[in-house]
């Protein structure tokens, strides 16, 4: 009795599957459209964000989803696909058909180089087209407000005087982490001169900083905005003073008296990213995307969105963007050893 039932159900299941497979085989793999570029896009686009909902790339993408469809002619949906510092999302992008209907918005550097250099990703920089470095961040050195150090020099002296006592929060492998290690190395300090406290995800770390649980932090200046009332910015990793922090000198000015200097690694460089096959196979569609994108950047309502959210809408173009990312890749490669030692 049971055996009959099992056979019946089993054959029903298998039968259906076979029929389905047979009829669908030819249609299963999406065929890359070659004609019809003129009518691109014919259906909604997906903006892939390889990080968690609520992060800066996610919020920027939602802004685009709000304002760009007007210029593109099709709606856009944001999909978050976080994991492995953006590698899961990048892999996923490359697995989709290169027909332009999936575009990634991400801080392409440092994360894609970090995926390649540290996490042994299977892709290379050449697999991607980097459209435009729209919003670039820089690192800043901040301390909790209740700490006594008023200048970066005082902090450095304190570290030298009390090795192993002062704490900093790091997101392992991030630009801020590398800058911290580079700074210590150039000051001839061992990595364990400072207590590294590793966080995964910056939410808890910023809360810890705000609460004075950590002494200092080198990281993206924008993500520090949320806790700006609880911290002091002591230096910026730029070659000039930043208008947002007029009292914070450039880091290499601070380090000069110590005969030290650090490379200025660009922070998050947020850009739209396509698989490079898209531009190669569908140049017309690609150009249409770029023009809709530029129109959005120029739109007054989008400019207001960017301004109120303290995001940038720069236009530097694909060539300069790609060059920046390649330069960063070189710098990060050099510091790979430092990370492994720490």
């Amino acid at each position: 009795m049971d055996r009959r039932k099992f056979l019946a159900s089993g054959s029903a299941a298998v039968g259906t599957s076979l029929i389905g497979t047979a009829s669908g085989c030819s249609r299963f793999r999406a065929v890359a459209g070659n004609g019809g570029d003129q009518s691109w896009p014919r259906r909604p686009l997906t903006i892939l964000v390889p990080f968690d909902v609520g992060g800066s790339a996610d919020r920027l993408s939602r802004g685009f989803a709000q304002y760009m469809p007007k210029y593109l002619g099709q709606p856009m949906t944001v999909v978050d696909r976080a994991g492995a510092s953006g590698m899961i999302g990048a892999n996923w992008l490359l697995q989709q058909p290169a027909d332009g209907y999936t575009v990634m918005m991400t801080p392409a550097t440092p994360y894609i180089p970090i995926n390649i250099i540290i996490t042994n990703a299977h892709f290379t920089l050449d697999d991607f087209t980097f459209v435009n470095a729209q919003w670039t961040d820089y690192s800043a050195l901040i301390v909790a407000k209740d700490r006594p150090w008023r200048t970066a020099g005082e902090l450095i002296d304190a570290i030298r005087a009390n090795p192993g006592k002062i704490s900093t929060g790091v997101d392992f492998g991030s630009v801020g982490h590398i800058e911290t290690l580079a700074m210590l190395e150039s000051l001839n300090l061992k990595p364990n001169a400072v207590r590294f406290v590793t966080f995964d995800g910056s939410g808890a770390m910023h809360a810890a900083l705000a609460g004075g649980q950590l002494d200092f932090y080198i990281g993206q200046s924008e993500s520090n905005l949320v806790i700006r009332d609880y911290v002091r910015t002591l230096a910026v990793f730029l070659d000039h003073r930043a208008p947002d922090f007029p009292d914070a000198p450039p880091i290499n000015d601070v380090l000069k008296p110590y005969n030290a200097s650090v490379p200025l690694i660009a922070g998050s460089v947020r850009t739209f990213v396509f698989p490079s096959a898209f531009k190669v196979k569908h140049p017309v569609a690609f150009a249409k995307f770029v023009s809709a994108y530029r129109a959005t950047l120029d739109a007054p309502e989008f400019k207001k969105f960017l301004h109120d959210n303290q995001m940038a809408g720069d236009w530097v173009g694909e060539e300069r963007t790609t060059q920046t990312i390649r330069d960063q890749f070189e710098v990060l490669s050099k510091y790979k050893g430092l990370l492994k030692k720490s």
Binding site: S167, G203, D229, Y230
Partner: protein
């Protein structure tokens, strides 16, 4: 403490127009609906709702999202009780006594209990926030990895309590769960236990694993039966029985109050919301004179878990509302709502928008009543689940769980985890290994390791560091006290019995 000026402004905002109220019922309904289906999660609800945010005013957006979270708190309890599958990690504690009650035909009462508990917990925490949002927020910032570590350890002790008769098996299951929770890339970028599979780099997907472990224990066993509840009479949904359950809740006021206060405190700590229900359950069990009743369908188990679940959700809002700083999860998403309205978070948020903050808190207090009504109606709908034949229900639930886990992980890792853990969970259940112990371990693994690591790093290897963390020390003392107290009490009772016997024998 109470900013009267802002409070009055808030009352104006809420009383002056219907607009803020229009989103309350839809929010609660969406929260209820999505979370009562196992395998669907908050992130899916948000994925549907976030595009709507730009069309709302900022106050509406905040109220909508908090209404959704309020609905979710009760929503996750429904499948936990009816199917032994928690709607999310936060409902695990509710299954311990909820499902046994459903099996005994008391699903109406159980759902009524859970509803009252959810409302009560929410009421308590938002009353606290109304008066103390500022101080609570400031206090929250003082909590760091050492305090979170004590919280995790507290959760780990629950594994021992859940182990039942076979302590070594329970502890082994718990250890297994803890280690599983740490699989993936460590905070230092080193992959552990991933077999080189990139899908495992972020660890084992928690919700599919938990649904799999729980679903297995019951759904596979249920295939031998016709209905969840065998007795036709008991399979009905009775308003009177739901109300009876609701009334029963008020007979255990101490349990509810303790759960609500505990949950509020735990919710403030980052990462606390997910495990508040477990800790509250554990404490209620320890404080009870008859702890062996817990786990067999004792109303106090449901009440303890659900009040803490509800109040911790509000607690996790504290830092956001008071200081505009998100501590992760739900609060990070609310920051998206901020950004869509072109507002950045930060302490200036409370200063500049104090009236909005109060309006949100007040509307949440009002939502308690709405939740009671909408939830009651929803129980009727959900309760019909027990009337459905299992041969249709089981494949339906499992299909939803599979597709839902695919949606969660965006790849096949979710469904594979679900299926694998379903099988593991069934074997464990058959061999008398407490699945719950493994689940608690799984939930706590990542957090415990992370906080242990950070506490170690902050201390630089010195134990004297602990002396600088008075809050952590106090928490440890409370933890030790709560573990030893039941033993002391039973020892005292035994001694008293012995004394009595001696007196009788010698008189």
């Amino acid at each position: 403490m109470l900013d009267l000026h802002a409070l009055i402004a808030a009352l104006h905002l809420l009383g002056g127009s219907w607009q803020p109220w229009a989103v309350v019922i839809p929010g609660i309904l969406i929260g209820l609906l999505i979370h009562s289906v196992p395998g669907l999660t908050t992130s899916m609800a948000l994925a549907i709702c976030l595009p709507l945010i730009p069309y709302m005013t900022f106050l509406q957006a905040l109220i909508f999202m908090t209404a959704m979270y309020a609905g979710s708190v009760f929503g996750v309890a429904i499948p936990a009780i009816l199917l032994n599958v928690p709607g999310s990690a936060a409902a695990v504690g509710t299954t311990f006594d909820g499902f046994p009650m459903a099996r005994a035909g008391k699903h109406n009462e159980a759902l009524g209990l859970a509803l009252v508990a959810s409302c009560f917990g929410q009421l308590v925490v938002y009353l606290l926030l109304l008066g103390l949002a500022g101080p609570i927020g400031a206090f929250a910032l003082k909590l760091g990895p050492p305090e979170m570590l004590v919280l995790s350890l507290w959760g780990v002790t629950l594994i021992g309590t859940l182990s039942g008769h076979h302590l070594p098996r329970g502890l082994l299951a718990g250890a297994f769960g803890l280690l599983l929770g740490t699989v993936g890339v460590s905070a230092r970028g080193v992959p552990r236990g991933t077999f080189g599979i990139s899908l495992l780099l972020d660890g084992i997907p928690l919700v599919p694993a938990i649904v799999g472990l729980f679903a297995a224990a019951e759904l596979f066993n249920l295939v031998g039966r016709e209905y969840i509840v065998d007795n036709l009479e008991q399979r009905q949904v009775h308003a009177s029985r739901i109300l009876a359950g609701m009334r029963e809740a008020f007979r255990h006021r101490t349990v509810m109050l303790r759960g609500a206060l505990l949950g509020s405190c735990i919710g403030i700590i980052p990462g606390g919301h997910a495990i508040a229900n477990l800790l509250s359950y554990s404490e209620a069990r320890r404080a009870a004179k008859d702890p062996e009743k817990f786990g067999t369908g004792d109303p106090r188990g449901i009440l303890a878990a659900e009040t803490a679940n509800a109040s911790s959700e509000g607690g996790s809002m504290a830092t956001l509302l008071a200081l505009g700083i998100p501590t992760g999860g739900a609060t990070a998403v609310m920051l998206v709502a901020f950004s869509m309205q072109n507002i950045t978070g930060g302490p200036s948020f409370m200063r500049d928008h104090a009236d909005l903050v109060y309006a949100v808190i007040l509307s949440n207090l009002a939502q308690v009543a709405v939740l009671a009504l909408v939830g009651f109606a929803f129980i009727f709908v959900a309760g019909f689940v027990v009337k459905v034949r299992l041969r249709m229900l089981v494949p339906t639930i499992l299909t939803l769980a599979v597709i839902g886990s695919y949606a969660l992980s965006h790849d096949i890792a979710g469904p594979i985890t679900l299926a694998a853990f379903a099988i593991i969970g069934w074997i464990m259940h058959k061999l008398d290994y407490p699945v719950q112990a493994a689940v608690v371990g799984l939930l706590l693994g990542r957090g415990t390791e992370g906080n242990l690591l950070r506490a170690y790093q902050m201390s630089g290897g010195n134990f004297s560091f602990l002396l600088t963390r008075p809050i952590a020390i106090v928490m440890m003392i409370l933890l030790v006290a709560s573990i030893t107290f039941p033993h002391l009490r039973s020892m005292r009772a035994a001694a008293q019995k012995g004394k009595l016997k001696w007196t009788v024998e010698n008189s």
